[in-house]
Symmetry: C2
Subunit: 333 residues, 2 copies
Amino acid sequence: MSIATPYLLFLGDAADPLAAKVAQGVKDWRPENAVGQLRLEGCNADMGLPEMTLAEGREAGAKTLVIGVANRGGVISKAWIEVLLDALAADYDIAAGLHNHLNDIPELVEAAAKHGQALHDVRVPSGDFPIGNGAARPGKRILAVGTDCSCGKMYTTLAMERDMRARGFDADFRATGQTGILITGGGVPLDAVVADFMAGAVEQLTPGADPDHYDLIEGQGSLFHPSFSGVTMALIHGGRPDYLVLCHEPTRTHLRGLPHYPVPSLAELEDLALRTARIVNPDVRVLGCAINTAALPEAQANDYLAKTADQAGLPAVDPFRHGTDALIDALPR
Amino acid sequence: MSIATPYLLFLGDAADPLAAKVAQGVKDWRPENAVGQLRLEGCNADMGLPEMTLAEGREAGAKTLVIGVANRGGVISKAWIEVLLDALAADYDIAAGLHNHLNDIPELVEAAAKHGQALHDVRVPSGDFPIGNGAARPGKRILAVGTDCSCGKMYTTLAMERDMRARGFDADFRATGQTGILITGGGVPLDAVVADFMAGAVEQLTPGADPDHYDLIEGQGSLFHPSFSGVTMALIHGGRPDYLVLCHEPTRTHLRGLPHYPVPSLAELEDLALRTARIVNPDVRVLGCAINTAALPEAQANDYLAKTADQAGLPAVDPFRHGTDALIDALPR
């Protein structure tokens, strides 16, 4: 999936800033992708970008209107539809990660065809995927794996991309979920791919490259999360990582959505992730731990990181508080 | 997915008996599902069932015409279409596991609608699947896992169902692939399910049951096969097995389709399968080994089984040569 950049970010009538997670991600990680923002009356989110009409956005170079917010109650309102129809008429593509698909709304499909524009539903995989073959390929791959879902894997790999590029590495984030795809304009929504093609889709996303190139592969789910462990396994075997980063949220009391499942330890994650990754790459090793300490005060966070580094014998950082330099330092030069 | 039984088996113009794998499976494992066979001129397969016209099949009670053969060159010929249209007019449902789908052939879709009959493409999942929740549920589950794809997992679980029922156990085979679905009339084509719903589909297929009931879950792929390991992982976590049976083909020199991958040992399979299954059920244990010794002469096969049982400290049988009693004996009574 490939979305034309740059974007005009549509914030709609976002109830609160949290609803604008996608727009915030674009602003944080691909500010060059966002020429401005378009808000409707009653919008309580603000990315601090220039306010633009559709016409102003086009003049500023925007090619795609990205819906940067969750829609209230899962319904695409009449007010939204009007904006989207106007955008298609103004030669915008439209991209969204909504539960309801743009391509299921006949008047949008009709208008897109009429104006020759694309409707990207990033929850829906596009293109054909091969069966994975597990073959070695040139270039390096770093995969984030987690003790749980939603514990900082996307943030960690985006931060590593930023920090590696700043240090002169040739490094690309590879999105495997809808938010990452909208932020960066490309990727594969792995959780929506048909089972037989999961590993092949990841191989296609992380193809052979220059020996000094790094793919930073966004992780999904967890080997320990029974709802999604198959997706994680396909990422490990399709991604054929050279390096793993272990992601963890230390205050969580149980797996996300599963109160009857404890969160495994970092040591358990290290053991099982290495065990499964070695099936495709015997030389894989762990770079370090990325800990999401947002819920801890600074002193307690630093204590936790020091203790973790000591116990694991590995670098341990909070990518948000400290960046990822300590992980990058662990790469061979 | 649920297919009305019994069947009339359509053998078409099968090039050779091997092309009739599905029909052979019905004959071997669900003979009560097959009232007869319907063959075209030039058919080189014969199940030894009564030859019947469509009308005779209906008189004998057949509700579904099952396409029991692979079609030559992947094309559904004009001669086949005529038979299928006649079958729909004679109030048969039709079921097939062909690469080309019945539901993609407009004249069949139209005729099925006209006569109120169903077209079952068993490669296409039907129904909605939940997200898996990993919860414990009553009843017992036995899952076949393998060192590779296509090493005898379906055969092993079908043979265990037969042998357990003969000994008075309440046991049901649960099909997770197209051949098993056509043989038994129900199941989930797991390799065609969308990634996020794999584990939930397996949970739905193996729901809570009487404490003394056994589900015999057909395995898919292998934790060690990088193309399909994610599907296997979802089976282990969605199936939440109480018992594992380790399946292996001892003469294979590399993983199916992957010449660069060696076949793991039974000890490696035991270790990783238990490690991953314990995440959902700490009490899971291995019943024994099911070895497909078809490629070995009898004496060598028996030597291999004796050596395997000795090394693993577990029963080791060839389900085809010896049945599965030694595995069933390992269940608590």
